[in-house]
């Protein structure tokens, strides 16, 4: 095959056997690769009632088909399993070099099933795979694991997906680390790896990705590059990465300060925003084939954390720990970031769990005697100690390792402090202060409270306006930007107001989810300069010229819709109920306390109305959110069902 390696490696850890399965051409066209293959595999292989931490769960990695080429930002691999955090479709996406290395090793994906009798790691190299003992790695953190595997296999270019202690101890928000600094973080996939006694998957390949129509492909790559470079977000993103969002969130009063109570924080701009980033970092580090290099190399040269060196000063830990836990300086946030990377913890959920515990401490629901130390807002040393207790399930850490939803059951009256949707912590932007496509995604996302699968490709961070409350958000860009947006004209007319260009949030949510499903299936990155400029037309050209499989832009976006619907069917089979698509009670019952959005809270009826509009836009039943027979037939999913079987 062209583009694809053509094989998926299937490893049964119980039997200690492996086989190769071919990538079927029909699968390729309908599900593309990456997330699409994962959705299909999980749906077909994981029965209702399966235990996320049992051997019947499978963990699947599939690389986007564009990865391994010069398509800008094509670096991404999707990892999926039944989630120990939500009990639903668990999935996470990561870049770096692991995916390209797997393709060069001759595989598009890896399926891992069963459970090894003792700790092991998998070594995949140039078409061969071996299961090796990992007793000597068990108990070690992810950084050390990466270093040791590279050393013992004698090659510094080996890419390693590894768990830290959190995954070993089945922490429900454990990540799979991708090298030392990146991760498949959300939905607890690290615990699935831990439950299988699998410490790491190491890959190295010296093979190649072949191209079907070279001239057309390179022209499509060049056009994609030009499109990304033309985005007004390109320069700022190269310079500041995701830290760009730190200023507008404070301006809108939409920070999750002190567990979603303070929307704005005093001294935020001077202590934790992108304005202070240049003090600690002056250069970017890229994933394979990425011209943006949004991640930053950070060196702390003075103060208590002098000597600390790591990749990443990202909005996620800065807002999660910096605002959520009110840790008031970037070096301390960097230290907490390193702790999460080493222990193998999802930083979004970890920050939410620590903030939840800090609020319990403030309210007197837990005390120093429970922890062994005080747990005051802003205390990074206490944060690090607590994260260590969680990763090792020591003391109260054992309760918190279950995530905020389950942990809240242990403390009477604590559920109102648990900020999660479907069991997954949502911890970045406050929907009370900024209502948008992004924040509606917290409740529509198939993976639970999450901000990365429903993003308006033309989100405008200069404005915080809803011209029609709950229904629209301001567009605010030039007419040229509107014209250039790669979206079918008839859909543009439905989503954007013909005069003001205001964006219909529920309709844009549906488009954004389908589009991002395509990104996660093809392996490109959803950073704004890309999401903004690269849509179905370029995707179709890239895909068809790389693989030789003809596809139209309409078929590309239809594949995204198919993938989204299949994940939804998986969720319904595993027990998702219509009422699960709802915000935590705090957003309805408590107003934001401080900042420009002080006094605001969500209106339950309005949220229900907009959710209904979203279901209608999806072609689902407006009351129950169930995909109907007509929609499933349209997507060639007629033989699929949401019934429990």
């Amino acid at each position: 095959m062209y583009g694809y390696s053509g094989k998926i490696l299937d490893i049964d850890l119980t039997a200690g056997r492996m086989k190769e399965r071919p990538v079927e051409q029909d699968w390729a066209r309908e599900y593309l690769s990456g997330l699409g293959f994962n959705a299909r595999l999980l749906y077909e292989e994981i029965p209702a009632g399966a235990d996320p931490l049992g051997p019947e769960n499978i963990l699947v990695f599939n690389v986007g088909v564009l990865v391994g080429t010069t398509v800008p930002t094509a670096s991404r691999t999707e990892a999926s399993a039944l989630s120990p955090a939500t009990g639903l479709f668990g999935t996470a996406n990561s870049g770096n070099f692991w995916g390209s290395e797997l393709k060069f090793a001759g595989f598009d994906g890896v399926v891992i099933r069963g459970k090894a009798a003792a700790p092991v790691y998998v070594w995949i190299c140039d078409g061969q795979a071996t299961i090796l003992p990992a007793d000597h790695l068990w108990g070690r953190d992810a950084w050390e694991t990466v270093r040791r595997i590279r050393r013992e296999l004698g090659d510094g270019a080996i890419q390693v997906a590894a768990i830290g202690q959190a995954g070993e101890n089945l922490v429900r928000f454990a990540s799979v680390e991708n090298g030392p600094f990146d991760a498949w973080a959300r939905t607890g996939l690290g615990a699935v790896m831990g439950s299988k006694n699998l410490k790491a998957v190491a890959v190295r390949g010296r093979g190649a990705v072949r191209v079907a129509h070279r001239k057309e492909f390179l022209q499509a790559v060049d056009d994609t590059r030009k499109a990304i470079f033309s985005s007004p977000f390109y320069g700022p993103f190269s310079r500041f990465g995701t830290m760009l969002a730190t200023l507008p969130y404070q301006e809108f009063g939409a920070l999750p300060g002190r567990n979603y109570r303070l929307g704005a924080i005093e001294n935020w701009v001077e202590t934790r925003s992108r304005k202070v980033l240049p003090r600690y970092s002056n250069r970017g580090v890229a994933c394979v084939a990425c011209p943006i290099a949004c991640a930053h190399w950070v060196e702390i040269k003075e103060g208590p954390y002098a000597g600390l060196r790591l990749k990443d000063m990202e909005v996620t830990p800065v807002i999660g720990f910096g605002a959520g836990c009110d840790i008031n300086n970037l070096p301390a946030v960097a230290m907490v970031t390193e702790t999460c990377q080493r222990l193998g913890l999802d930083m979004v959920s970890a920050a939410a769990v620590v903030a939840f515990a800090m609020e319990l401490y403030e309210k007197g629901l837990i005390g120093e005697k429970d922890l062994g130390f005080p747990l005051n807002w802003g205390d990074e040393r206490a944060t690090i100690s607590l994260l260590d207790m969680i990763a090792h399930r020591r003391g109260l850490g054992d309760v918190l390792a279950e995530g905020v939803r389950k942990a809240a059951e242990h403390f009477p009256g604590a559920s109102k402090y648990a900020v999660e949707v479907k069991g997954l912590e949502c911890f970045l932007l406050d929907p009370r202060a900024r209502w948008s496509t992004w924040t509606l995604g917290y409740i529509t996302s198939v993976r639970g409270g999450d901000h990365l699968r429903t993003r308006n490709p033309v989100e405008n961070l200069r404005y915080n306006e809803n011209p029609v409350p709950y229904l629209t958000e301001k567009f605010g860009f030039s007419e040229e930007m509107y014209e250039r947006l790669d979206m079918p004209d008839e859909l543009k007319k439905e989503i954007f107001d013909p005069v003001t260009r205001d964006v219909n949030i529920p309709k844009m949510s549906r488009w954004a989810e389908d589009l991002i499903a395509v990104y996660n299936a093809l392996g490109m990155c959803i950073r704004p300069p890309v999401l903004h400029t690269v849509g179905p037309t370029l995707f179709a050209r890239l895909y068809a010229s790389l693989t030789g499989i003809d596809i139209t832009p309409a078929e590309v976006i239809r594949a995204g819709e198919r993938i989204w619907n299949l994940q939804k069917l998986f969720n319904l089979r595993h027990g998702e109920k219509p009422g699960d698509a709802d915000y935590p009670s705090r957003f309805y019952e408590e107003p934001v306390r401080a900042g420009p959005a002080a006094g605001r809270r969500l209106d339950r009826e309005k949220v229900r109305e907009v959710l209904r509009e979203y279901y209608l836009a999806r072609g689902w039943d407006p009351d129950t959110g169930l995909p109907g027979a007509a929609k499933l037939a349209e997507l060639n999913l007629q033989s699929y069902t949401h019934q429990r079987s």
């Binding site: 391994g68 080429t69 800008p72 060069f104 010296r206 191209v211 394979v288 084939a289 990425c290 290099a293």
Partner: protein
């Protein structure tokens, strides 16, 4: 005017677009091993070392593809002026 390849390793972000471009140009397929330019990435140090193999034909396609400014095609006179 003579045009040369200018290398500024300090600007390299490690994306390896140069090596992938080299491979597709000279070997007709994408790969990182076997290209005439290679980037050794020291991930824990955040440093990148650029090496050209003796097979490099000096086509400069890598520099045209480099997004970070680590590899650039420059006029020799211009370079001399900057250095001079």
């Amino acid at each position: 005017m003579a045009r040369e390849l200018a290398v500024n390793p300090g600007r390299c972000t490690g994306c390896c677009t140069c090596a992938l471009t080299c491979a597709i140009t000279h070997q007709g397929e994408f790969k990182l091993t076997g290209a005439f330019i290679s980037i050794a990435r020291d991930e824990f140090e955040g440093t990148f070392t650029i090496t050209f193999s003796s097979l490099c034909r000096g086509c400069k396609k890598c520099a045209l593809a480099c997004p970070s400014g680590a590899l650039r095609v420059v006029d020799v006179e211009e370079m001399a002026e900057q250095e001079g």
